[in-house]
Amino acid sequence: MTTNHDDPALTGQPVGRRLVLGLMALGAAGVAAGPWVSRGLGAVSGALSKHDPTGLSSLIPGGGWRYYTVTDGFPYQPPSSYRLRVAGNVSRELTLTTSDLKGRPRTRLTSDFQCVTGWRVPGVRWEGVRLADLLDEAVPDSDQTAVQFVSYDGTYTESLTMAEARRPDVLIVDTLDGKPIGRAHGGPVRLLVAPMYGYKSCKWLSEIRVTDQLIPGYWEVLGYDQDAWVGKSNGRRDAPTG
C-alpha cells in the first residue's frame, strides 16, 4: 500500500468506526429498554397470533408463544395413551385419562399468559378442570402443605403451596383457544396457574403429588421466585394476568 496523502485508505471519514460504535450503542439501548421494546412488539404479535392460521406471527421477536423445553427431547404422549396420576400423601390415588378429564365439571378461563423473560400472549382461552376438585377427590392426608407437579419430559417439576393450588384460577387444562393442547404448548394436559409467571404452569403434566413440604421446582432451584405472582415477583413489574 502506498502512503501518500491521496491514498483513499488514509483519507476520508472514519465512518466505519462510527457505524460500529453506533450499533453498539443501539444494542446497549436495546438491552436497557428491553422490557419496553419487547412489550410493544409482544402486543403486536400477540394480537396478530389470534388471527393467524399460518403461525408466522410467532416469528416476530418479543411476542407470541415461544417454545421452550429444558430437556434434550422426549417422547410425546398422545391423548389416547396419556395418563395423569394424582398421588403422594392422599387417601385415594387417581389415574385419569383425557376422557376422564373431559367428563368432570369443566371450567373456562381467559387470561394473559406472561413469561418471566418478557413475552406475553393476551387473552388466552383455557379450559379444563379445577385442581382443587381433583385434590378433593383424592383426599389429601391431614397437614399436607404443598403440591408438586411432575412433567413427563423427565426433568421439569413445579410446586405450589396447598393454598395456591386450591385457588379457582389454577386449572388442569387440555384445551387452548378452543383446540386440544398440542405438543408445543405442553399437551395433551398441562397445569395453568393463571396469576403467576409461565414457568409455574408445568407443561406435559404427568403427576400431581401432594406433599407435606414445599419442594422447589426446576426454575426455583436456579433462583427464580417460588411465589411467582405476575408483576410482584422476580423483580418485574408486569400488569397482573389473572
Binding site: 500500500m1 502506498t2 483513499p8 485508505a9 488514509l10 483519507t11 476520508g12 471519514q13 472514519p14 465512518v15 466505519g16 468506526r17 457505524l19 460500529v20 460504535l21 453506533g22 450499533l23 453498539m24 443501539l26 444494542g27 436495546g30 438491552v31 436497557a32 429498554a33 428491553g34 422490557p35 421494546v37 419487547s38 412488539l41 403461525g55 410467532s58 416469528l59 421477536p61 418479543g62 408463544w65 415461544r66 417454545y67 423445553t69 429444558v70 430437556t71 434434550d72 427431547g73 418471566v116 423473560t117 418478557g118 405438543r183 408445543a184 436456579l222 433462583g223 422476580n234 423483580g235 418485574r236
Partner: protein, 203 residues
C-alpha cells in the same frame, strides 16, 4: 508490482481463511438459532441441549478467526483500515444509479462494501455481547429485565443481520469474479479496473 496481463493479487491466504471460517461459524449460528427460535423446527429436530450447546460454542468461537487474522496479517489490518474510511468517491458511488459505469476512482473497496462490513461488525459485536448476557443468568444473579432486553436485542439484530447477509449473498451470486477473488486470492485485471479502478491502477 505491475503485472497487467496476469491476475491481480487481492486477498492473502489468511484473509480468505478468515472469511471462510467466519462464514462457516455464522452458518452454524443461523441454523442452530433457527432451530431454537422456530417452534416447528424445535419440535422437528428435538435434541435441544445439543443444539443449544452447539449455538453457544459457535458463538464463542465467532470472533476467533477475525482476531487471529488481525494478529497474523498486516494485509488484513490494512484492509480493515481501508474498509473503515469513506471517501467522497465512496459517497458518490453510493448515490449514483450508474455507479458501475460512471468511471469512478473506487479504491480496493466500494462504499457499499464499507458500510456493509462495518454494519456486520457492529451487529456481530452486539450479538456476541447479548449472547454472553444470555449465558450469564445460570451463574450470576442477573436482573430479569436485563435478560429480557438481551433476548429482544439478540432477536432483532439477528433479523437485521439476516437481511444484510441475504443481500451479501445475493450480490456475491451476481459477481462470480468477486467470489473467485475471495476463493483464490486473485482477481481478473479487467474486472478490477471496472469495479475498483483506483485500486487496480495502483497494482
Amino acid at each position: 508490482m505491475r503485472r497487467p496481463a496476469e491476475a491481480l493479487p487481492r486477498f492473502t491466504r489468511i484473509e480468505t481463511w478468515v472469511h471462510r471460517s467466519t462464514a462457516a461459524i455464522v452458518a452454524v449460528l443461523f441454523a442452530t438459532g433457527a432451530i431454537l427460535y422456530v417452534e416447528q423446527l424445535s419440535l422437528l429436530v428435538g435434541r435441544r441441549l445439543l443444539v443449544e450447546g452447539t449455538h453457544i460454542v459457535a458463538g464463542l468461537l465467532l470472533p476467533l478467526p477475525a482476531l487471529l487474522g488481525l494478529w497474523r496479517s498486516r494485509e488484513l489490518r490494512a484492509d480493515v483500515h481501508a474498509l473503515g474510511r469513506m471517501t467522497p468517491v465512496d459517497w458518490e458511488w453510493l448515490r449514483r444509479r450508474d455507479r458501475r459505469d460512471a468511471g469512478l476512482a473506487v479504491g480496493k473497496f466500494n462504499g457499499g462494501q464499507k458500510l456493509a462490513s462495518a454494519t456486520v461488525v457492529g451487529a456481530g459485536i452486539v450479538l456476541f455481547g447479548t449472547g454472553l448476557l444470555l449465558l450469564a443468568p445460570a451463574r450470576i444473579n442477573l436482573a430479569v429485565s436485563v435478560r429480557e432486553g438481551a433476548t429482544i436485542t439478540h432477536d432483532l439484530f439477528t433479523f437485521g443481520l439476516l437481511f444484510l447477509l441475504a443481500g451479501h449473498i445475493w450480490i456475491a451470486l451476481r459477481h462470480p469474479e468477486a467470489r473467485r477473488a475471495l476463493r483464490t486470492g486473485v482477481v481478473d485485471p479487467a474486472y478490477a479496473a471496472r469495479e475498483h479502478a483506483a485500486w487496480a491502477a495502483e497494482q
